[in-house]
Amino acid sequence: MKKELSAAAKRKRLNHLLIHAGIILFAAACVYPLLRIFSVSLRPGDKLVSMDLAIIPAGATFISYTKLLGDTMFLRWLWNSLLITLATSFIGVSLASTAAYAFSRFRFPGKKAGMILLLSSQMIPAGMLILPLFLMIMKLKLMNTYLGMIIAYSVSSLPFSIWILKGYYDTIPRSLEEAALVDGTSQVGAFWRIILPLSTPALSIAFLFNFTTAWNEYLVARVVLFSSKQYTWTLGLFELQGQYITQWGMFAAGSMLVTIPVLCVFLYSSKWLISGLTLGSVKG
């Protein structure tokens, strides 16, 4: 009996060893490109083009970072991105939070049609809407402006946000609002004082989703913004990564500066984000 047990335990240990090995292999594949960027960003200017695979290169230096911040408009690009993104997320979340409430709590003619419209809007290829949006923005004389970008971005994540928020509101018992009504709030007051504070996790997910979508967007920015002063960081980095190999270091440095905060926020919020996503997908 004892011998059998130990055999089973051995097999289990071997299994776990294999699993660890497999996961580490995959994890390395996931992390390595990031480490490579890090490594390139530290390389001195004359060794950018090298066949070296070491993470910390010989003669590591921060020269790329100082050059990036000093010689290019990188900070300005970050600032542009931040403004556009914050405005977009704010608008997106505030519109979604009320619309989702209507879908979650009320019965009204056209509810089902509205939900289907939302879902089917996800089927429209984003690439397809760039052209008319571009022409609209041109016609409104908003080319190369923040406003044009915000308008183009503001509803792109709306259906998804509404979906996530509706799913979350559905889990909040109705009796809470009813108690608030009896206590003396209006319907809107109940939403404001009870539902919104309770939905902070879902609101943050929606906000983050809006934020990351707009923050990482490239294609619309490419056609709307044309002066490098107005560029978002995605456009700026793409340009740096262009043909001139000398700018590799600056591209890598910029990538690191952008990626680290985004990564931190994402990892910190991933639990919420994931539960939101799975919630959405289960209900979808």
């Binding site: 699993i19 009204f108 429209i124 008319p132 949006l133 490239y218 995605t234 793409f238 997908s281």
Partner: protein, 395 residues
Amino acid sequence: MNILTSIGEVSWFILLVAAGVAALVGYLYSHFKFYSRSWFFPAVLAVFPALALAVFGGLLGGYAFKLWLSFLAAEAAIAVFFRYVVKGRHTVPYLLLAPAFVGLALLLVYPFVFEVYLSFHDLKLTTIMMWKNTGTLPFVGIDQYIKVFTTSPLSETTFWQLLLRTLVWTFSNVFFHVLGGFILALMLNNSIRFKGFYRTLLVIPWAMPQVVAVLAMRGEFHATNGFVNIVITRLLGFFPFLSHLGVAPVQWLTDYPLLTCTLINIWLGIPFMMVVILGGLQSISSSYYDAADIDGASYFQKLRYITLPLVRPVMMPAVTLGTVWTFNNINVIYLVTGQAGGTEQADILVSALYKAAFTYNRYSYSAAFAIVVFAMLFFFSVFYLKSFDAAKDER
């Protein structure tokens, strides 16, 4: 000063939207006599936009005033609509929905309709000035649609080649996303040490800004400096016999652009699937496995008869979504091949239509192309949802 202006410009717009929401909320307060504050609504309606205009209108002038006027008009129209058209108890939900749906109508539905309009007219580099000045375009009927199937959107590839390429691209990506995601999720779903840490590392490709991730990966596929070729060269150094098997450094970006894009996109997409499937796996009660153990099921039998069917409902929506996303993925392909002088060997339908519009300035042609692509996607979705519904009914 620059910074101040930019803040001003943006906050002005936010205030505008906030004013819209505030006005609607204000209206709710007055409509329901819980708080008999009849002054609330008009005050909000007037004060917010006026403030916004006073503070920031001066900074911008011109179009700001026009936008503000049209906003006021829209607001008034909404108010009238609710006072006189939608009477009774459905007012609240409609009001709550109004801002979002107005936004969607203006920025999703209207562009869509506009795209259809464009596809029947002729907007190109030579007519765009005319359109800008007069707003009219020459009508060409279905000419653009005929061109979609007869002429090439790019300089080399035809529509049918693009279609084939798109299907291959979509299928191979989704297949490997699901396969990789499933394997990783299965491995992570054990009670092993460092589980949280591993998961964190594994979602990094998804968490990284896509532009950075794609551009960095593109760098790794560079012919001389890229990691992939460096590793191949070193392997050849250690095991010279490999070169007889045809292993050699490759010009990834110029010779195999579609393969490169696919590899990069697989790398990008696996974490999402992994997370969704892991969520599904974790929601399966362990008592099923206990029962199967007692029944004497092997590991693969448990996988086949318990895990797969129970993960399916979680996975199917994600797979559908993933298919649509992959089909519509311009980002990866454009970022890898889109620079001036980039290859067209990797283009799929959607990236071709983007290039047709913005590299070749064939706007109307691109619009017609987009409608065709949309129609295909639409029929796929309808067909797919139907079959999915049918499968649901059977159970």
